[in-house]
């Protein structure tokens, strides 16, 4: 297992360096002179010069990257163009809300997806299976942001069970934290749940036909043990792969959902920074998001080793 970890890290760390270079290079895409475009509406020469100085645009490009990158390694992501905030400070202040939302949505996706998938696989061809398959097709197609709006309408406006907007940190009030995140996490988790349900069903129907499952059933194990102990672990790999891909997409979706539900997360920071053209801030958010996705991919790869011991060797 340690060998696998080392091998995956040997892939992930160079990726992080390349990704940081890409994030930094984004400034090349700014049309014309970035200092002029980024200095705000009708800038005077002094402001332009200040921006140029701040971003180090007078240096050669690779040197600029080196300054920024060595800063990143020290945990310094630079300064916001328009406020005195440090980018790292702003990003880490916003991280808890996004992580809470993402983790809760992924929990919804995994629990609901695996449950529906297993149920459908245990009774293939019956109405349970058909309803599950239909719901999964629908779940993949229905836009998550629309689901969010409909949930607000049903459970925050018509029935005032959940708050429609806002966020309470977990350490202040766990119940309020949960109530505020329940609707956004459900909206974001339903589509990945549908994808995971499909994968689980496909994987499980195959595994349930295997001899060792028949043996387990024949020796009198209750169906729950057969599924939980023997079948699920062997059907897990495609499910985990789907989970990894969906997790990355889900993190993208937080931008929209945070905006709809007024959650103070990374997504809404990215959103305001894009409109303000606060470039260092955009770069900081982008870097942290990419690191998060790489981390998820790393965990997914490591979990392959857990589910299939043969992978640990090769």
């Amino acid at each position: 297992m340690l060998g696998l970890l080392v091998r995956r890290l040997a892939f992930t760390i160079p990726m992080l360096v390349v990704v940081s270079f890409c994030v930094f290079s984004l400034i090349v895409l700014v049309p014309g002179d970035p200092a002029v475009s980024l200095a705000g509406e009708n800038p005077d020469p002094e402001q332009i010069a200040a921006v140029r100085e701040r971003l180090g645009l007078n240096d050669p490009f690779l040197l600029q990257f080196w300054h920024w990158f060595t800063g990143v390694l020290r945990g310094d992501l630079g300064q916001s163009l328009f406020s005195s905030q440090s980018v790292a400070g702003a990003v880490f202040a916003r991280l808890p809300a996004t992580l809470s939302l993402a983790l809760l949505s992924l929990t919804v996706a995994l629990v609901l997806g695996v449950a529906v998938g297993v149920l459908a696989a245990m009774r293939p061809g019956t109405w349970v299976d058909r309803v599950a398959t239909f719901a999964a097709s629908l779940g993949v197609a229905v836009p998550y942001f629309w689901v969010g709006m409909i949930l607000v309408l049903l459970f925050a406006i018509n029935l005032t069970i959940f708050p429609a907007v806002g966020y309470t940190p977990l350490h202040e009030n766990p119940l309020q934290w949960f109530l505020h995140l329940f609707l956004p996490a459900t909206a974001l988790g339903l589509a990945p749940a549908a994808v995971i349900a499909r994968q689980t069903r496909a994987g499980m129907t195959g595994v349930l036909r295997e001899d060792y499952v028949r043996t387990a059933t024949a020796k009198g194990l209750p169906p729950a043990r057969v599924v939980g102990k023997h079948a699920l672990k062997n059907a897990a790999i495609p499910v985990v792969t789907a989970f990894g891909l969906e997790a990355s997409r889900l993190i993208g979706g937080t931008v929209v959902i945070e905006q709809l539900f007024a959650l103070p997360g990374l997504g809404s920071l990215a959103y305001t920074s894009v409109f303000a053209r606060d470039f260092p801030m955009v770069q900081g958010v982008l870097l942290v998001v990419a690191a998060l996705v790489l981390l998820i991919n790393l965990l997914v790869d490591l979990s392959y080793g857990y589910f299939n011991p043969r992978i640990r060797q090769s």
Partner: protein, 299 residues
């Protein structure tokens, strides 16, 4: 003796297979969900194209006294906060949204497929470099990368579509590359190479037709993703800019009125969901209809 045995064996291998496999269109048509999806999509496209002919009002005609009305004989699907007719806006918005999704996927195809063919055919260093660039681009969630590109280039439909095209290109690159690798190993391609046919003739004539089916499946599924992404970006105000209507724009402005007129977010959502579902089901149908014969074995 041996000849008869050989012939029967050869017959047994080839004869019964060919006539039992119906043509592509028959196989696609027999897949009921995919066929219904195709009809629904055709209707959506036709309605959007015919918007100027069938829309009861101009999509930008303001009628403040009748703002936020529910379904009435004059306005079948009601009106928005400026009294604009929802049905007319929905029809015109369909043009923008569907065209936007198609543009983004077209850009992704034009970038991803040729590079995938090249990487798969040539192999070696170009393949490695292109593959790693793809890996890096795939590290960013699609919508976040699109937002980053928009941050640099400024909001607007065109930027949003270029951004999405770049974001989706690596996915098509991977599909095209994998299919090319497979074809590259086939005997007929090796034969072509050995008699000295140049690559620029082999790739379009021998490789491309075989790469086309997996690419087509991916394109269909990607159209669904692009449609959702365009809606999300427009909803945030980073894509289509009002007063032009797209389904995403309508959702965004409708959400502001959700407490008084929930219908405003209902219809554009239904339109997006229908189109997305249709693209996905068509993709599934294409996959089944274009798939190799072996997949029949386990059913």
């Amino acid at each position: 003796m041996t000849t008869t045995a050989d012939t029967t064996a050869a017959l047994a291998r080839t004869a019964p297979v060919a006539p039992t496999r119906p043509g592509f269109w028959r196989r696609f048509r027999d897949n009921r969900p995919a066929f219904v999806a195709l009809v629904v999509l055709a209707l959506l496209v036709a309605a959007s194209l015919a918007a100027p002919l069938i829309a009861p009002y101009s999509p930008e005609a303001i009628d403040v006294p009748r703002r936020l009305s529910l379904s009435t004989p004059d306005h079948w699907l009601g009106t928005d906060s400026l009294g604009r007719d929802t049905l007319s806006r929905l029809l015109y918005a369909g043009r923008v949204s569907l065209l936007a999704a198609a543009t983004a996927v077209a850009i992704a195809t034009v970038i991803g497929v040729p590079l995938g063919l090249l990487a798969g055919y040539v192999g070696g260093k170009p393949d490695w470099v292109l593959g790693r660039i793809g890996d890096v681009l795939m590290t960013f969630p699609a919508i976040i990368l699109a937002i980053a590109i928009i941050a640099a280039m400024g909001p607007g439909l065109q930027t949003a579509m270029i951004a999405l095209g770049i974001v989706y290109a690596p996915r098509l690159f991977r599909v095209a590359r994998a299919a090319t690798l497979q074809v590259r190993a086939e005997t007929y391609v090796e034969a072509s190479i050995s008699i000295g046919t140049p690559a620029w003739k082999i790739i379009p004539r021998r490789v491309l037709p075989n790469v086309a089916s997996p690419v087509l499946v991916q394109v269909s599924v990607m159209l669904a993703a692009a449609l959702l992404a365009e809606a999300a970006l427009s909803l945030l105000g980073l894509g289509v800019i009002p007063p032009t209507a797209s389904w995403g724009v309508m959702l965004g402005s409708g959400f502001k009125e959700i407490r008084s007129t929930p219908l405003l977010v209902f219809w554009p959502g239904v339109a997006i969901a229908l189109a997305t579902l249709a693209f996905n089901l068509i993709g599934d149908g294409l996959r089944d209809a274009l798939g190799r014969r072996t997949r029949k074995a386990d059913s």
